[in-house]
């Protein structure tokens, strides 16, 4: 092809224009990636800022706000306005600011035009400073506070302070949820933050992004029941000298946790004091994070397995001596005495270790016994929607540290560790016609104005309907036979005490302290509540029937009022109409 005359001019022009285009592209990339430019953005007129959507609120099942948002302030100083620093410092001191912290912040950004003096300042402190600013405005000597700026934003607030604190957890200043619900549902509560460079000077207008808020959630917790349970637990600790305690109240049909109290509790508005309130390895929520040997409350699971497998019947009678040998070791009754002939209700009513060890070792055998324990979920986390759950430990034949004697001791809750929530979930099978329910604290989520409720989940059927009803009757009869202090007039309830020795880290058991617990449900014919009470190391008495059973009674007396639960006779009359 023949070139046109002067075509070199076009080629040269194309090359020049192409080179200019490439140069522009290179410059764009250089500006984007240049650390020098990034430094200018970081320290100069622009700052990188995270825009957090308003965090979703948390309500109890009756619509009472448990965690909400409040206005807090970022307080900053415009250096370009040449502020009179002694006046500024005096005002900050009067408003309760930490001057050391303020000086440190100023020294960290020597060339900045705008310095953040403090953040998450409460409205009351900010109001004080604003009032001083107003007074000093227009001072003829120039000693004003006009260079101080206030940027309002959201901060987390807990109107109930420490109520249900062990369930809720808290949110730190970086908008991250820690522990409890705040951690478990952090991703949906927090929403999706947006990060962008904005002018540091608040007078410069900029378009802020529109961010959808975090989802609101409703808990299964009933604020009134939670408060009553916490008060009962606090009083129990005072009365018994126990080192700590836990109470869980659950609806055994749905798995909804109505209340969960654990000590100590934290005022969530002062979460910074967590290390003082929870020294060392203290669990934030013992109900899900502390595994312990449950003791005799676990006998209900052994008896359930034995009845369900046909190993024993309620009317089975056995001679209960003072001890029984299992795996080469002697196991004794709690009082060291022989109890003669006992039926299975008697074994439960008198909490006889020898009887239960006989059942697991002689009547059930290890395969059947451990199969039932696993069906009840022992050794596995329940999956409850709270952060920090631990699985406990159920040693099985074949494990390197399992010994044959544990077939006997496990039958009465020794040598096996569980969390209170595991016991509650396992017992739900007994209270709910053999169906074991998933315990949960999330009742519903609100998204785009629509509420979606959590559905009941059945996690297993470890025993039959008949076994569950039979055992409930046996336990109710046992309480009535022994005239338990757990009984509530007018309401037939089933339950079992537990007094457990505390294993020492180096082996053996603590001779001075015990764990005391009570698990029960009612009304027996149609259970509406399942309550677990655990007191650690009570000092006034070592017997659970003396220490914990009355606490259970107190809880149930509150529950029947708050749940509008009439006495059995009236309720059955109403049903009959």
């Amino acid at each position: 092809m023949k070139r046109l005359p002067h075509s070199w001019r076009f080629i040269t022009s194309a090359l020049i224009l192409g080179a200019m285009g490439i140069a522009i592209l290179v410059q764009i990339v250089r500006i984007q990636a240049s650390p020098e430019v990034a430094g200018v953005i970081d320290q100069g007129n622009y700052i990188w800022k995270d825009f957090y959507p308003p965090r979703g609120e948390i309500y109890d099942r009756n619509g009472n706000l448990l965690a909400g948002n409040m206005t807090v302030y970022e307080v900053g100083l415009d250096i370009t306005a040449n502020p009179d620093m002694p006046t500024v410092m005096l005002a900050l001191q009067m408003a309760g600011f930490d001057l050391n912290e303020v000086n440190y912040r100023i020294s960290q950004v020597p060339n900045a035009q705008y310095v953040i003096l403090d953040d998450f300042v409460s409205a009351s402190r900010a109001d004080q400073l604003m009032a001083l600013q107003k007074v000093a405005h227009g001072d003829p000597t120039g000693k004003n506070l006009d260079a101080i700026y206030f940027k309002a934003h959201y901060g987390r607030s807990y109107p109930e302070n420490d109520l249900a604190s062990n369930i809720l957890g808290f949110v730190t200043e970086d908008n991250h949820g820690y522990l409890g619900i705040e951690e478990k549902y952090d991703n949906i509560l927090a929403g999706i933050p947006v990060r962008m460079a904005v002018p540091a000077d608040p007078r410069r207008a900029t378009e802020y992004p529109t961010i959808p808020p975090g989802q609101t959630i409703i808990l299964t917790i009933d604020r009134n029941i939670q408060s009553a349970v916490e008060n009962i637990l606090d009083q129990a600790l005072k009365n018994t000298g126990a080192s700590s305690g836990t109470i869980i109240v659950m609806d055994p049909h749905s798995g909804e946790i109505l209340a969960m109290s654990s000590t100590p509790r934290l005022n969530l508005n002062e979460y910074q004091s967590i290390k003082t309130v929870f020294p060392g390895e203290t669990p934030f929520n013992r109900a899900v994070s502390e595994a312990y040997e449950p003791g005799s409350v676990a006998k209900i699971l052994t008896m359930a397995g034995a009845l369900d497998s046909g190993a024993v019947k309620p009317e089975t009678v056995t001679f209960v001596p003072e001890s029984i040998v299992v795996g080469g070791f002697k196991i004794y009754n709690w009082d060291g005495g022989a109890w003669g002939y006992q039926d299975m209700t008697g074994c439960l009513a008198n909490s006889l270790n020898v009887c239960l060890a006989w059942i697991s070792d002689k009547e059930m055998g290890s395969a059947s016994f451990y199969s039932y324990m696993q069906r009840f979920g022992l050794g596995h986390a329940t999956g409850i929607d709270l952060a920090g759950e631990v699985p406990g430990r159920l040693k099985l034949p074949g494990d390197s540290d399992w010994t044959p004697v544990e077939l006997g001791t496990n039958a009465f809750g020794q040598g096996v560790s569980v969390t209170p929530i595991q016991m509650v979930m396992a017992a739900s099978a007994l209270a709910n016609d053999g169906q074991m329910v998933y315990p949960h604290v999330l009742y519903a989520q609100i998204q785009d104005g629509k509420q979606s409720n959590t559905k009941t989940q059945i996690v297993g059927n470890p025993i039959s309907v008949k076994t569950a009803q039979t055992l409930s009757d046996m336990l109710a009869n046992a309480l009535e036979t022994e005239s338990s202090t757990a009984l509530v007039p007018g309401y037939r309830i089933a339950g079992k005490t537990g007094t457990a020795q505390i294993p020492l880290p180096g082996g053996g058991y603590d001779q001075n302290n015990v764990n005391t617990s009570f698990i029960g449900w009612g009304p027996v014919d149609d259970p509406r509540f399942l309550v677990y009470v655990w007191l650690e190391k009570p000092q006034t008495n070592r017997a659970a029937s003396v220490v914990v059973a009355p606490i259970y009674k107190q809880v149930v007396e509150k529950l029947v009022v708050m749940l509008n639960l009439p006495p059995d006779a009236i309720r059955l009359q109403m049903i009959g109409r």
Partner: protein
């Protein structure tokens, strides 16, 4: 006839006449450009003002939302269980125990159910606040018109 043709050629070729034509054309172009620039400036200013107003309104919405959340939390503090218990005690109430309760059968009453915080029907923010006509390009607008017309089976 020849004379007439000669005169017409003279008039057409007169230099002042050609200049006037060029000046007229230039002025016409200038006026057109000024008109386009004026319209463009007018639209731009209106768009800018609307944009600034939108930003201001968005800021107001954000502030109002924050204030509402703050007030809601303050209200929750005022009606917290601790406050309510204190007020109830101050008014002479005391906690009920099971023996204080008289149960009455009410036909059809199923007891208290948990709260429903769904937004009432009609309050769902399904319709965008800023209509697409304000954000889409001409090309998008025409494409959307074509698509919607095709879907509805009518001529645009």
């Amino acid at each position: 006839m020849n004379n007439v043709t000669h005169i017409v050629r003279k008039v057409r070729q007169a230099p002042w006449r050609a200049q006037r034509q060029w000046i007229g054309l230039f002025l016409l172009g200038l006026v057109l450009m000024a008109m386009v620039a004026g319209i463009y400036l007018n639209v731009t200013v209106r768009a800018t003002l609307a944009g600034r107003e939108t930003i201001t309104l968005q800021a107001m919405i954000t502030t109002n939302q924050r204030v509402n959340a703050d007030l809601e939390t303050q209200l929750a503090g005022l009606i917290s269980i601790e406050s309510m218990q204190k007020r109830a005690e101050a008014m002479g109430f005391q906690p009920a125990d099971p023996t204080d309760i008289t149960f009455v059968a009410v036909p059809g009453y199923k007891g208290q159910s948990a709260v429903d915080l769904s937004m009432p029907i009609g309050n769902h923010p399904e319709v965008p606040i800023i209509l697409p006509e304000y954000t889409e390009s001409w090309f998008d607008y025409f494409m959307n018109q074509q698509v919607s017309s095709a879907l509805n089976g009518v001529q645009p």
